[in-house]
Symmetry: C2
Subunit: 93 residues, 2 copies
């Protein structure tokens, strides 16, 4: 089966399951995390540290793994992450 050289949609595209995790950069205040730690302390469950993040599981069609990762990066930079305050990690399964 011919592989599309342009990366356009076609029968050669495969499904990739991508996991994007978006967290606050080191040093950014995370008031939600502090509120959860306080609530846990009041429940008698002390914690040494606590941080929050969002996780997005996305199914993508792409010609290969590199393009799937590039699309995930584009999704982070154009929509999900604010580069001023967020860092993100991409895993392609």
């Amino acid at each position: 089966m011919p592989v599309s050289p342009t990366g356009s949609w076609g029968m050669s595209d495969m499904r990739f399951d991508v996991t994007i995790t978006i967290a606050l950069k080191e040093g950014m205040l995370d008031p939600e995390a502090r509120a959860i730690q306080n609530a846990l302390a009041h429940l008698g469950v002390p914690t040494l540290s606590l941080s929050t993040a969002r996780r997005f599981s996305i199914g993508l069609e792409a010609a290969d793994r590199d393009r799937a990762e590039a699309t995930a990066r584009e999704i982070c930079e154009r929509l999900l992450a604010n580069p001023v305050i967020h860092r993100y990690e991409i895993e392609v399964a």
Copy 2:
């Protein structure tokens, strides 16, 4: 060094890094995920599927790995997760 048999805080406790992921149960509506998919489609980035979750990274002191996992489960059930709509996963590092 004596190990505390009661599980109370002591010098025998070790630090465990626990990751809790909380997602909607299968079949629950995820309007945020649909909004993100629509926004991506408008940006010219079609997706096959998209789901959202919250991730919490928590540092805990516990006598052993099993107790760290039990504490994480307690954190989910008493504070972070709503058992009617959420499922959760716990990883202990």
